[in-house]
């Protein structure tokens, strides 16, 4: 396993109390594999990613438990400087909003070249040549001339491709993309996702794709992990989830995608709001919004059940995952 997150706990200490953002997350990704992490805002998917990268703001954030194994090494036990050297070279992150993720006062060539200056100790001139190469690689037209341009002189899609180029610069073995297409319009989204998938294939990297867009996921992901209130509620190969979700929350998410054959009907929405992280409901965190909730859901936290056939590939954190699967098959 390239990256394995084991029982990770993250909390934020605020003036109003302790927000438990991540409560025992387990997931892993192999070389050449794409894991999609799905969830609403505040489900802990970005916080988990920041904890992996080591860019969590601490304080107020605090990692209270668990381990993050990258190539067998527990990142949480590393010193700050060792950790920094892994960032960028071993793992890199692509952010949501490429405009604000690029420094407005530095030309894109400077920013791309910086990767080589920081990690490889290249001279400025060599770094610039590599920057042009990278821009070619992510298909920025006329890279040689545009390497001196500033971020605001590029279109949104091109900026995101430059972000991708920065992340790929040192050919890391793991890329974390935090909603890489949310700020883009639909046609550009497809281009950026295709580019990302293609580069991942070529460089045989692991990719963690954080998103709340189920449409994006279906094309590129191998596995999906669905998060709710800081926990993984379902984890499965992508086609299994689309065929028959084993958790009512996943089912709710799938049902709330607009469909072409659903003309004139009201779009399904999961009722209620995501839980307040300072006050997560006892039992299953999803129980107040769950159509299938029973008494046991309000008292017992469901473990991650191994969904049949029991081979460790599919997991669901629902006491009634069997019913959930059956429902879908019957309807």
């Amino acid at each position: 396993m390239l990256l394995e997150v084991r029982d990770l706990h993250v909390e934020f200490r605020t003036r109003d109390g302790v927000a438990r953002a991540v409560n025992g997350v387990n997931y892993g990704v192999d070389e050449g594999q794409t894991l999609a992490v799905l969830g609403e805002s505040g489900s802990g998917k970005s916080v988990t990613a920041q904890a992996i990268m080591g860019i969590l703001d601490m304080p107020p954030g605090r990692i209270t438990g668990g381990e993050i194994l990258f190539k067998g090494q527990d990142l949480l036990k590393l010193k700050g400087e060792e950790r920094r050297k892994i960032r960028g070279a071993g793992m890199a992150m692509i952010f949501q909003d490429a405009l604000s993720s690029l420094n407005p006062v530095l030309s894109v060539g400077d920013q791309l070249g910086e990767m080589f200056v920081v990690h490889r100790g290249l001279s400025k001139k060599d770094a610039r040549a590599r920057a042009v190469e990278l821009m070619d690689r992510v298909r920025i037209p006329a890279a040689k001339e545009r390497v001196r341009d500033y971020p605001h002189q590029f279109s949104g899609g091109m900026r995101q491709r430059i972000m991708i180029a920065m992340a790929l610069a040192l050919e890391p073995s793991l890329i974390i993309a935090d909603e890489p297409t949310t700020a883009l319009d639909v046609t550009v989204q497809a281009q950026v996702m295709d580019l990302l998938a293609e580069l991942r294939r070529e460089l045989d990297m692991g990719l963690i794709l954080i998103t709340h867009d189920l449409g994006v996921v279906a094309d590129v992901a191998d596995r999906i992990a669905v998060m709710y209130a800081g926990r993984i509620v379902e984890s499965a190969p992508v086609h299994d989830i689309y065929k028959a979700p084993a958790h009512p929350y996943t089912r709710g998410l799938l049902d709330s995608i607009p469909r072409l054959d659903q003309k004139g009907q009201e779009l399904y929405a999961i009722k209620g709001l995501p839980p307040n992280l300072m006050n997560i409901p006892p039992g299953c965190a999803f129980n107040p919004r769950c159509p299938m909730a029973r008494d046991v859901c309000r008292t017992d936290v469901p473990p991650l059940y191994d969904v049949e056939p029991s081979d460790g590939i599919r997991m669901s954190a629902c006491h009634f995952w069997r019913e959930c699967l059956d429902d879908r098959v019957n309807s």
Partner: protein, 373 residues
């Protein structure tokens, strides 16, 4: 908006790496280079989505006013020197924020005018005898308050000293006080404030309380108390006093600017890509936080020159026989009815100096913000 023009045809075919790039028009094919083949596998050329590629092309072509003609000229250089594009000609030199800002400034008339005025002031404060042959301390009481005459274009002040000579010589102290106090304040304030803003925590709280304490000291009262015990009649106690009372202002602004810049996604992104603290602070935060400091510092420069005049007026700043605009203004103010020229010339010089520095600060700020380019 500049009109969209057809993209620059650009075929960098030279060097070791066979590369074909279609200048932004239609699908982009980039083979070769180092590492695995890119567009060969899987899906073929990606950017064939007509409208999109055209848009990219248009943006690439229009660029921005200045960037466009630069790109054109560099395109030509590249064509000429195809063989050694990898070694890079002079045009390949890295363009930094500061060199870009300098390029902008050279074209800005506001910068040129204010720069020339300041240059002139600096020159005459270094070598006042270049344009004033007289001695500012040689006064003839019999000529007190006389208007302009031959060889003495500004007339005489209340002590019968030549106003022109004194105004020229006064520039030295005003410029020295203004520039030194501003440099000291800006350095001390921005380093302390910037570090406090970047690292936060306990030191930040301590520093913030210290700045609050200094803010509570009234400048003039502080000057009366602190400077009245100083017997040294040079500019340094005055400059020291201004730095002592002035740094909290810059420190607070620098701290705020650094905190704002620190929260930007690109700082987080730089961190995620392995930048160290010092690199983030120097390369990503400082250029984005320096603009407000520059603006406030240049405005403060004017107020320091005026403050020196105030302190001299109160008798705790510089004292005669030092020559300063502040001393002359305070000496001439009682005779404003009889001899207005003795007040107007040094005041005018003061106003022009302050204005020039403020204009300079404005131009520099604009040049440092690439979004205005």
């Amino acid at each position: 908006m500049p009109e969209p023009q057809p993209p620059q045809p650009h075929v960098p075919g030279g060097g070791r790496e066979p590369r074909l790039s279609g200048g932004g028009r239609g699908p982009q094919l980039s083979g070769g280079g180092r590492g695995p083949q890119l567009s060969g596998g899987g899906r073929g050329p990606q950017l064939s989505g007509g409208g999109r590629a055209a848009e990219d092309g248009a943006i690439a072509a229009t660029g921005m006013g200045g960037a466009m003609d630069l790109a054109t000229s560099e395109g030509e250089t590249l064509e000429k020197g195809l063989g050694n594009t990898d070694n890079g000609g002079p045009s390949d030199k890295a363009r930094s924020l500061w060199s870009d800002a300098w390029r902008d400034l050279r074209r800005n008339p506001v910068f040129i005018i204010s720069g020339l005025v300041i240059l002139f002031l600096v020159v005459i404060s270094l070598w006042p005898s270049l344009i004033a042959s007289g001695n500012p301390l040689k006064c003839d009481l019999s000529k007190a308050q006389q208007g302009s005459g031959p060889g003495h274009p500004f007339g005489y002040d209340g002590q019968g000293c030549d106003v022109y000579t004194r105004t020229v010589y006064g520039a030295r102290i005003s410029i020295a006080v203004g520039v030194c106090a501003t440099l000291g304040v800006a350095l001390l304030g921005s380093v302390l404030g910037g570090l406090a803003g970047f690292f936060g925590g306990g030191w930040d709280s301590v520093l913030s309380r210290i700045t609050d304490v200094f803010f509570a000291i009234p400048v003039v009262l502080g000057g009366l108390v602190l400077l009245s015990v100083v017997t040294n009649n040079s500019v340094w106690p005055v400059i020291g006093f201004m730095v002592l009372l002035g740094w909290p202002q810059i420190s607070r602004i620098a701290r705020g600017a650094v905190i704002t810049a620190k929260q930007n996604d690109y700082v987080q992104a730089a961190r995620a890509l392995g930048a160290s603290n010092s690199r983030m602070l120097l390369r990503h935060i400082t250029p984005n936080a320096v603009a407000p400091v520059i603006v406030v510092a240049t405005i403060a420069l004017g107020t320091y020159i005026a403050l020196e005049a105030t302190l001299s007026y109160l008798g705790v700043g510089l004292k005669p026989p030092s020559v300063s605009w502040g001393i002359d203004i305070s000496a001439a103010s009682p005779y404003i009815r009889n001899a207005p020229h003795a007040l107007l010339w040094p005041s005018g010089a003061l106003a022009v100096t302050v204005l020039a520095f403020i204009m300079l600060g404005d131009a520099v700020r604009d040049a440092l913000d690439p979004k205005l380019r």
